[in-house]
C-alpha cells in the first residue's frame, strides 16, 4: 500500500492503482469519456487530465491510465490549468458534435454551453460517432473478436468493419452497441437468413437465459452458441460479476453410471424436419411457422408476449393451419400423429380470440376422439372457423397485393366441394408429424428391445401389455412407444410406474425355470452367442475370457444353445442327455 495525496486528501491505495480509481475511492469525481472498467484504459479523451506534483516538478497526466507507484505523490484534479484543458477539450468536441447528449451533458458539467470554435466537420446528428473507441476496445479486449477497428488518419478517422462490409467473423454479440455512449452503433437483424430470424424471434434473447418461465429447474443457463466466452475465449464478464462464483465455464455434460433394477424409456419424439418439404416454404417464406414456434409465440412469456403477429409486427388478416404435414402421407409417415387435430383447433380458437383474423383449417379427416374433444370441434365450427377438407399442394409468396404487402397463397383441393382453391393468407402454421427420435435405433440396441415398422419402440403386446418390452425390467411410455397426447402419455407412464413399483415392493423377481447356462470348461470365448441373444443376457467376462449368461434376463429361448460351436451352452433341465433320455424312454414304451 502507498499513500498519495489527492486534492489535499491523503489516500491509501494499492500500488499500480490508477488515479481514477484512487480518486473514486476518495469520492472525487474525474470526468471521463472513453473510460470503462471493462477494458484497459484507452486514454484518448484526455478529459481526465490531472496534475501530478513530484517535488518541484508538475506534470499533466491522464488519470485513467496513470499507475500510482510512489509514496507521497500529490495530485490535483481540478486546478485552473486542468479546468482550462478540460474546457478546451470539451469545446473541441462540442463544436464537432453539438447535439450528442453525452457531449452536451459533459460540457454542461464542465461549465461550457457554447464552444468558441467553429468546426468544419460539424455533425448535427444526435447519435454521431464521437470516436471514443469504446466499441473497438470492447471488441478487441473483452469479446476478443477483433472485428471493429479504426480507419484513416487524423480528422478523417472513423470506426469501420473490415473492408467496411458485414463480416462473418462478427459474432453479433452486440457488445459494441451496448457500450456505445451515443447509440451510433445499431445491430441489424440478418433478415436474409431464416435461421437467424428464428433465433431472434423465438429463441432465447441472451447468452445467459432461463429457457422458459416454466422451465424446471428455473435457473439460468449459458447458451453455448451465443456465449462470447465459448466462441472467442473473451468476455467472461458474468463470472466477474457473479458474487457466489456460481459460473463455471469448464463445466461440461458428463456421463454418470447408476446401477438400477428397472428402466422406463420415455425418450419422447421429434418433429419431422419441415425443410424437406419445400412446397410449404418453411424456412424460406416469412410467416410460415411450425406449430411449436407458434405455440412459443402464443405463450405470454414468449417473444411477442402472447400476441399473434406477423414478422413485420402487423396483425395477420388471415391465418391458415395445415394438418398432417408428413403424417398420413405415403411419402413420409403413414401413421396418424394423433395430437395435431386437437392442437390445431386450439390454435384456431386462440387466433380467433386474440385477433380479428379469418382462420382456415386444412385437414384430411378430423379426429376428435378424446373426452370432450368432439364438443370442442363443434364449438369451433360455431366460432366461424373455415374448415377445408383437403391436402395443401403448395404455399407461395405473392407480392402484388393491393396494399403492396406480400401475402401467402395456399393452393389446395377442397374435396367436399370438389374444387381446386387458392386462399390468400398472412400466416401459415404447419402441423408437423411426430416421429421417433433420430437415435431411436441406438437406444433400441442398448436396451435390446425392438422397433415396430414405424420405428417407434415395440411393446410386448399391443393390447394386453402396452407398457413393457420383451426385455424384462425395461418399460416404455409416451411418444417413444407411438404418437399420443398428454392424457394418454400420463396414463401409460403411470401404469409403467405402478408396474415397476410392484416389482420393487416384492423385493424379488420370479423367474422362469428354463434358462441357458455356460459350461465354463467348454467355452472357448468365441463370443458368437453374445450378439445373438435377443435379450442381451450374454456378456463376455474379460478376466476369465469366457461368456456368461445373466439368468435374470435369459428367457431360455435356446438360440445360444443352438449356435454354440463348442456345445458349451446348454438349457438348464434341457441338456442333450436329458432330452435323449426322454426320447429313449418314450420310444421304450
Amino acid at each position: 500500500m502507498i499513500t498519495v495525496n489527492i486534492d489535499g486528501k491523503d489516500i491509501q491505495v494499492a500500488e499500480e492503482t490508477t488515479i481514477v480509481k484512487a480518486a473514486e475511492s476518495a469520492g472525487i469525481w474525474i470526468p471521463t469519456m472513453c473510460y470503462s472498467e471493462l477494458f484497459e484504459p484507452y486514454g484518448i479523451c484526455r478529459l481526465c487530465s490531472v496534475e501530478i506534483i513530484r517535488g518541484k516538478r508538475t506534470r499533466i497526466v491522464t488519470a485513467c491510465n496513470y499507475p500510482l507507484r510512489e509514496n507521497g505523490l500529490k495530485i490535483r484534479t481540478n486546478s485552473p490549468v486542468i479546468q482550462e484543458i478540460r474546457k478546451v477539450l470539451i469545446e473541441l468536441m462540442l463544436s464537432r458534435w453539438p447535439n450528442v447528449p453525452v457531449v452536451k451533458n459533459m460540457a454542461a458539467s464542465l461549465g461550457v454551453i457554447e464552444p468558441k470554435f467553429v468546426s468544419l466537420e460539424r455533425d448535427e446528428a444526435e447519435d454521431a460517432c464521437i470516436l471514443c473507441g469504446m466499441c473497438v476496445n470492447i471488441c478487441r479486449d473483452v469479446v476478443k473478436a477483433n472485428i471493429l477497428g479504426f480507419a484513416n488518419r487524423g480528422i478523417k478517422r472513423e470506426v469501420v468493419l473490415p473492408y467496411e462490409k458485414m463480416n462473418s467473423e462478427c459474432i453479433v454479440c452486440g457488445a459494441c452497441a451496448y457500450v456505445c455512449p451515443t447509440g451510433h452503433i445499431k445491430i441489424k437483424s440478418l433478415d436474409y437468413e431464416r435461421g437467424a430470424v428464428a433465433d431472434w424471434y423465438l429463441g432465447p434473447k441472451t447468452a445467459i437465459n432461463i429457457p422458459t418461465l416454466q422451465a424446471v429447474p428455473r435457473v439460468p443457463k449459458i447458451d453455448e452458441e451465443s456465449c462470447i466466452k465459448t466462441q472467442t475465449g473473451g468476455c467472461g464478464i458474468c463470472s466477474t460479476y457473479c458474487e457466489p462464483e456460481a459460473i463455471n465455464y469448464e463445466d461440461k455434460d458428463e456421463e454418470v453410471e447408476i446401477e438400477v433394477g428397472q428402466i422406463l424409456l420415455a425418450t419422447g419424439f421429434q418433429l419431422i424436419d419441415l425443410k424437406q418439404m419445400p412446397q410449404y416454404g418453411y424456412g424460406r417464406l416469412d410467416n410460415v411457422y411450425s406449430s411449436l414456434e407458434f405455440e412459443h409465440m402464443l405463450n405470454s412469456t414468449g417473444p411477442t408476449g402472447g400476441l399473434v403477429k406477423c414478422k413485420d409486427g402487423s396483425e395477420p388478416r388471415a391465418v391458415g393451419i395445415i394438418h398432417c404435414i408428413g403424417s398420413r402421407d405415403e411419402n413420409y409417415h403413414k401413421y396418424c400423429s394423433r395430437v395435431c387435430c386437437m392442437y390445431a383447433l386450439k390454435f384456431a380458437h386462440l387466433v380467433k380470440d386474440r385477433t380479428k383474423a379469418e382462420v382456415y383449417q386444412f385437414y384430411i379427416d378430423m379426429r376428435a376422439f378424446g373426452k370432450g374433444y368432439e364438443e370442442f370441434y363443434k364449438r369451433l365450427l360455431d366460432e366461424g372457423v373455415n374448415m377445408i377438407r383437403g391436402k395443401v399442394a403448395e404455399i407461395a409468396e405473392v407480392h402484388s397485393g393491393s396494399d403492396g404487402k406480400p401475402y401467402l397463397l395456399v393452393k389446395c383441393e377442397d374435396t367436399l366441394i370438389g374444387k381446386f382453391r387458392e386462399i390468400a393468407l398472412d400466416m401459415v402454421i404447419l402441423c408437423p408429424a411426430i416421429e421417433p427420435q433420430f437415435d431411436a435405433a441406438d437406444v433400441k440396441k442398448i436396451f435390446s428391445i425392438s422397433q415396430s415398422p414405424d420405428k417407434f419402440f415395440l411393446e410386448r403386446h399391443p393390447k394386453l401389455d402396452p407398457i413393457s418390452t420383451m426385455t424384462d425390467g425395461v418399460f416404455i411410455a409416451g411418444c417413444a412407444q407411438g404418437p399420443k397426447d398428454i392424457p394418454d402419455s400420463v396414463a401409460q407412464a403411470s401404469a409403467a410406474a405402478a408396474r415397476m413399483l410392484s416389482l420393487i415392493s416384492l423385493g424379488e423377481v420370479a423367474l422362469d425355470p428354463v434358462k441357458a447356462e455356460v459350461v465354463d470348461e467348454y467355452c472357448s470365448g468365441c463370443r458368437i452367442c453374445n450378439n445373438l441373444c435377443p435379450y442381451g443376457a450374454i456378456s463376455f467376462v474379460d478376466d476369465k475370457k469366457i461368456s456368461n449368461i445373466n439368468e435374470m434376463l435369459c428367457k431360455g429361448c435356446g438360440t445360444c444353445v443352438a449356435a454354440c460351436p463348442a456345445s458349451a451352452i446348454t438349457g438348464k433341465g434341457f441338456t442333450d442327455m436329458q432330452i435323449l433320455s426322454e426320447i429313449e424312454g418314450l420310444l421304450s414304451i
Binding site: 499533466i60 491510465n65 484543458i85 478546451v88 477539450l89 477497428g149 488518419r153 487524423g154
Partner: protein, 610 residues
C-alpha cells in the same frame, strides 16, 4: 587485395542518384577503359557525401580532389586531364559564393572543413554494399573489443560517461535508457533501431543507412550486449527508403556470412540476430510506442508511456529503442573512449546525464542557404556558424529572417538569436527543439504565418487521430491559420491560437501532438507583428499570402516603358484587367483572383504588389 593509383568516389546518395550520378559512373568507367587505365583507377560508388546541393559529386582519392555538378559531357575532359595527365580540372571544382578561385581539395571547402564527423565518419569513403570496406575503416573493431575485453556493465558505464543522448528528438540519455532496460527482469528483451525518419526534408538517417549500414548494426549489437537477455533486434525502416532497406538487408547478410551476426559471435556466448521491418510511411510511427505497435502488426498508433517502453515495449517486453544516429555513435565511443566523446559538445554530464549535450549532431540544412545538404557539427556550435560558414550564407544576398529546427514540430528561431549555441537545452529554451535535426533557413521573402501553417498542415495530416487534442485541436488551429492567411482572421484569433496550442501541448497523448503547435507558438512569440499585420491590416508583409495581396498597375510604367503591351490582359484568368493596347491598363479589384499571373508575365515591371 588490389590497390589502385587513384580511386574515384562517385556519390550514390539519393540526391546525387536523382541527379544521374550512375550515368556519371558509367561514363567514367567507359572513359577509363578507353584510356586503358583500368588497372590504375577504380570507380567506387559511396553513400551520401552531404553536399547534396552540389551534386552529382566525384571525389578523387587519395588527394581528395572534389568535383561538383558534373555532367556526362564533362567526363572525357576530367579523365583525360586529371587521370591521364595528372592535371585536376579547375572548372569542375567548387567555387565559394562571391569568390573566384576554385577550391580543389574537399577538406578545404568550408562546407566540409567546419564539420566534425562521428556519425558520418565513413561518408564518401566506403562502398556501403561491401563489408570489407567497413572493416578496413575499423568496422566491428568496437564489437570485438566489447565482446573480448569488456563486461556488459563496463560497456554501459562507458556509454553513460560519454553523455550520449538520443538523437531522434527527445534527447533522452542513452546510458540511462540502457541501464533501465537492463535492470528490468525478463528473459526476453528487444532492441530496436528507429529508422522511420519522417520529418520532411530530413535525411540524415537515410544517408547513414545508405552510406554506412554496418555502423548501425554494430551499434545495436554493442547495445544488445550491454543490456543482456536481448533475443532479437529490429530495424524499422520506412518503406519510402527502398535503397536503405536493400542496403540493410545486404549488410545483415554479409555480417551473417562473416559470423558477425548469429550465434556464438567471436566464439563468445553472445548471440544476436536482426530483422528489418518496413513501415508504411506514417509520420506517427516514428514515435516509439506507435512504432512498436506497428511492428506488432497493428495500426501504428501511440499509447500512453507512463509505463516506459524499456519496461513494457514491443510485445509487452522490455525494449530499448534508439534512432539510427544514436546507434551509429556507439562504436566510436567504445573505440575512442567516453572521454574523447564527452570532450566534444557542451555542459557537464559527470553528475547529471541531462547536464549537457555531448558529441556531434547531423543536421540537414535546407531552405534559403547557399550550401544545402547534410552537415555534422559538434554540439554547441552556433546557428550562425552552421548557416553562414558551413551553409555559405543566404541565397541571392537576401536577408536572413529565421531558422526552423527540429522538423515540422520544431519551432522558429529569429535573427536575434542567431548566436544561439545548438544543443538540446538551448533549443528547447527558445521554444524549438533538436528534433531529428532538420534545419530550414528562411529569408525575408518567407511569410512566417504561412510557414507555420505549412508545418502545422503536415502534422495535422499526419496525426493518427487517436486523441482528441491532436485530432480536433490541430485541425481547428489549421482552420484558424487558413482564415488568417486568407484575410478572414480576427484579432481574437491570435489569443485563441495560443490558448488552443497550450492545451494541445499539455494534453496530447504523444509527442506528435505535444509538439505540433511549436511552429505556431514560436512564430506567435517572435513574429507576432506579422500575425497582427495579417489580421488587423489584412496585409502579408512578405507578400506570400496571395489572398491578402493587392495587385495594381503602375500606369506610368505601363504606358511609358511597356507601351500598354496587353500581355497581362491576355493572360489574366479572371478577365480582371481592363485597358487597350498602347494605353494604360488597370486591374478591377472586384474581379481579381490574386493569382499573380500578371506579375509573372509583365516584362516591364509595371505590376505593383502590396
Amino acid at each position: 587485395m588490389k590497390s589502385y593509383r587513384l580511386q574515384l568516389m562517385v556519390c550514390a546518395g539519393t540526391g546525387c542518384v536523382s541527379n544521374h550520378s550512375f550515368e556519371i559512373k558509367d561514363a567514367l568507367e567507359k572513359e577509363i577503359a578507353k584510356h586503358k587505365l583500368q588497372t590504375e583507377a577504380e570507380v567506387v560508388t559511396t553513400g551520401c557525401n552531404g553536399f547534396c546541393g552540389a551534386g552529382p559529386l566525384v571525389v578523387v582519392q587519395p588527394d581528395g580532389i572534389f568535383y561538383q555538378m558534373l555532367k556526362v559531357s564533362d567526363i572525357p575532359l576530367l579523365v583525360e586531364e586529371h587521370l591521364l595527365k595528372g592535371r585536376p580540372v579547375k572548372k569542375l571544382m567548387y567555387v565559394p559564393p562571391k569568390e573566384e578561385a576554385p577550391i580543389p581539395k574537399m577538406s578545404n571547402i568550408p562546407f566540409f572543413s567546419d564539420q566534425t564527423l562521428v556519425a558520418l565518419r565513413n561518408r564518401g569513403m566506403i562502398d556501403p554494399e561491401n563489408i570489407n570496406d567497413y572493416i578496413a575503416r575499423g568496422g566491428y573493431k568496437a564489437l570485438a573489443k566489447v565482446l573480448m575485453s569488456m563486461t556488459p556493465d563496463e560497456v554501459l558505464q562507458e556509454i553513460k560517461k560519454s553523455g550520449l543522448r538520443g538523437r531522434g528528438g527527445g534527447g533522452f540519455p542513452t546510458g540511462i535508457k540502457w541501464e533501465t532496460c537492463k535492470r528490468i527482469q525478463s528473459d526476453t528483451k528487444y532492441v530496436i533501431c528507429n529508422a522511420d525518419e519522417g520529418d520532411p526534408g530530413a535525411f540524415m538517417d537515410r544517408s547513414i543507412i545508405e552510406g554506412d549500414p554496418h555502423s548501425v548494426i554494430e551499434g545495436m549489437m554493442i547495445g544488445a550486449y550491454a543490456i543482456q537477455n536481448i533475443c532479437e533486434g529490429y530495424i524499422y525502416v520506412r518503406m519510402e527508403y527502398p535503397l536503405a532497406i536493400k542496403r540493410f538487408n545486404i549488410a545483415i547478410e554479409q555480417a551473417k556470412e562473416y559470423g558477425l551476426l548469429g550465434e556464438k559471435i567471436f566464439d563468445t556466448d553472445f548471440n544476436f540476430d536482426i530483422k528489418v521491418r518496413r513501415g508504411a510511411g506514417a509520420f506517427v510511427c516514428g514515435e516509439s510506442t506507435a512504432l512498436m505497435t506497428s511492428i506488432e502488426g497493428n495500426p501504428g498508433e501511440p499509447r500512453a508511456k507512463y509505463i516506459h517502453t524499456v519496461e513494457k515495449g514491443l510485445w509487452d517486453k522490455p525494449t530499448c529503442l534508439n534512432n539510427v544516429e544514436t546507434w551509429t555513435n556507439v562504436p566510436p565511443i567504445i573505440l575512442k573512449g567516453a572521454e574523447w566523446f564527452s570532450s566534444i559538445g557542451t555542459g557537464d554530464v559527470t553528475h547529471d546525464a541531462w547536464g549537457g549535450s555531448k558529441g556531434t549532431k547531423v543536421f540537414s540544412l535546407a531552405g534559403k542557404v547557399n550550401n544545402t545538404g547534410l552537415v555534422e557539427v559538434p554540439m554547441g556550435i552556433t546557428l550562425r556558424d552552421i548557416i553562414f560558414n558551413i551553409g555559405g550564407g543566404i541565397r541571392d544576398g537576401k536577408k536572413f529572417k529565421a531558422v526552423q529546427t527540429g522538423g515540422p514540430s520544431g519551432g522558429f528561431i529569429p535573427e536575434n538569436l542567431i548566436n544561439l549555441p545548438v544543443d538540446y537545452e538551448e533549443l528547447t529554451k527558445v521554444g524549438s527543439m533538436m528534433g531529428s535535426g532538420g534545419m530550414v533557413v528562411m529569408d525575408e521573402d518567407n511569410c512566417m504565418v504561412d510557414m507555420a501553417k505549412y508545418f502545422l498542415k503536415f502534422t495535422q495530416e499526419e496525426s493518427c487521430g487517436k486523441c482528441i487534442p491532436c485530432r480536433e485541436g490541430t485541425k481547428r488551429m489549421l482552420d484558424i491559420l487558413e482564415n488568417i492567411t486568407s484575410g478572414k482572421g480576427k484579432e481574437e484569433d491570435l489569443n485563441l491560437l495560443e490558448e488552443l496550442s497550450n492545451v494541445i501541448v499539455e494534453s496530447s497523448l504523444c509527442a506528435l501532438g505535444g509538439s505540433a503547435p511549436n511552429p505556431v507558438l514560436t512564430t506567435l512569440k517572435y513574429f507576432r507583428e506579422e500575425y497582427e499585420a495579417h489580421v488587423k491590416d489584412k496585409k502579408c508583409p512578405a507578400r506570400v499570402c496571395k489572398q491578402l495581396l493587392t495587385y495594381t498597375i503602375d500606369e506610368k510604367q505601363c504606358v511609358e516603358v511597356g507601351h500598354g503591351c496587353g500581355v497581362c490582359k491576355k493572360n489574366c484568368p479572371d478577365n480582371a484587367i481592363i485597358g487597350e493596347i498602347k494605353k494604360a491598363h488597370h486591374i478591377d479589384q472586384n474581379k481579381c483572383g490574386k493569382c499573380g499571373v500578371c506579375y509573372d508575365v509583365c516584362r516591364f515591371n509595371a505590376i505593383r504588389v502590396e
